[in-house]
Symmetry: C2
Subunit: 190 residues, 2 copies
């Protein structure tokens, strides 16, 4: 197949869409982020790439806590709003209904089906952004998004983000079970 070089860029397909919550100057603030990924299983550690001038970073550094919230397509306008307008200029504390968990200082979003409550592990300065590592200390899930006690992505309805079209997408159909469907692979290997 003919390959074309398109130049370096953040072309990871797709990226998750999350709202990062932090308490800044006594108020909850939420920032929309697609630069996020789990990087350690036990304990569960999440990595965020945050532009270093973000208002949110102030709260993360002060409280050593933050949250990661998973919005659904119903919340797309509010989600995108939190990515367009900075907490430096706009008070976003009323965009969502906030609640707090055991860490006390990490505001979480009631309207999001899943909330990851994190303690700051480390901040690593990168070229332009700050790499924020947080240990997931507790996970809150809407009761109606559970199936037999476990989070059910079909009910959670997360979104993903892609560049360069800068678009939010819904989740599609199930493709297959992991650590299972590969056992039927019959291609070349030794």
């Amino acid at each position: 197949m003919a390959k074309v070089k398109v130049g370096p860029g953040p072309y990871l397909y797709p990226m998750p869409v999350v709202l990062v919550g932090a308490q800044v100057k006594g108020r909850p603030n939420y920032l929309t982020v697609a630069f996020a990924g789990i990087v350690n299983l036990q304990p569960a550690i999440i990595a965020l790439g945050l532009g270093r001038k973000h208002y949110t970073n102030l709260g993360i550094k002060k409280n050593k806590t933050f949250s990661v919230n998973i919005p659904s397509p119903k919340l797309v306008k509010a989600t995108d709003f939190c990515g367009i307008y900075s907490g430096h200029r706009v008070d976003k504390s009323g965009v969502f209904k906030s609640f707090y968990g055991k860490l006390k200082t990490a505001p979480m979003i009631e309207e999001c089906a899943v909330n990851l409550e994190c303690r700051l592990v480390r901040i690593i300065p990168l070229e332009a952004d700050e790499l924020v590592l947080g240990e997931i200390m507790e996970v809150y899930v809407d009761k109606k998004c559970l199936t037999r006690g476990a989070p059910d992505v079909r009910k959670i309805k997360p979104m993903v983000f892609t560049v360069p079209d800068n678009r939010y997408w819904a989740l599609g159909k199930a493709v297959g079970p992991a650590w299972k469907i590969g056992k039927t692979f019959s291609g070349k290997h030794k």
Copy 2:
């Protein structure tokens, strides 16, 4: 809405599905990974969380290069195969057709629509996994997956992964344009 605590876990919804390529002992090896995220925009840096005993890590450390390849649902069996069987025991060099780019030592997958060719920036030991940071030096895209010269996710057809159901999913419908739809948000803010 009633929230239920489900305990700490890697509940980021959803995670991308990528195949990480590295040259190990003279042969290409590919590892399926969902712990991945972009963490810096310029230059584009990707973070991977890799269990430290993976065969792939040997090649990344030796060559200081690796690749990140985006499989589509058509490749789900081969993709899952590369997540089940370790390069320590199975020679996976023939599972895909490999090609090399300007870094010379990062094998990439011909059958994947998008290939990120990376140079190792840094490895940060975490509790259980190794956090691998790589700068994306070049991106290769199948010509037929471009629209007006830009990568088109509808043609690329990436997959995502979710826990605890351990399932691969296809991308769904477009929800809306980022940095745009939020301008019509009319909720509470100041």
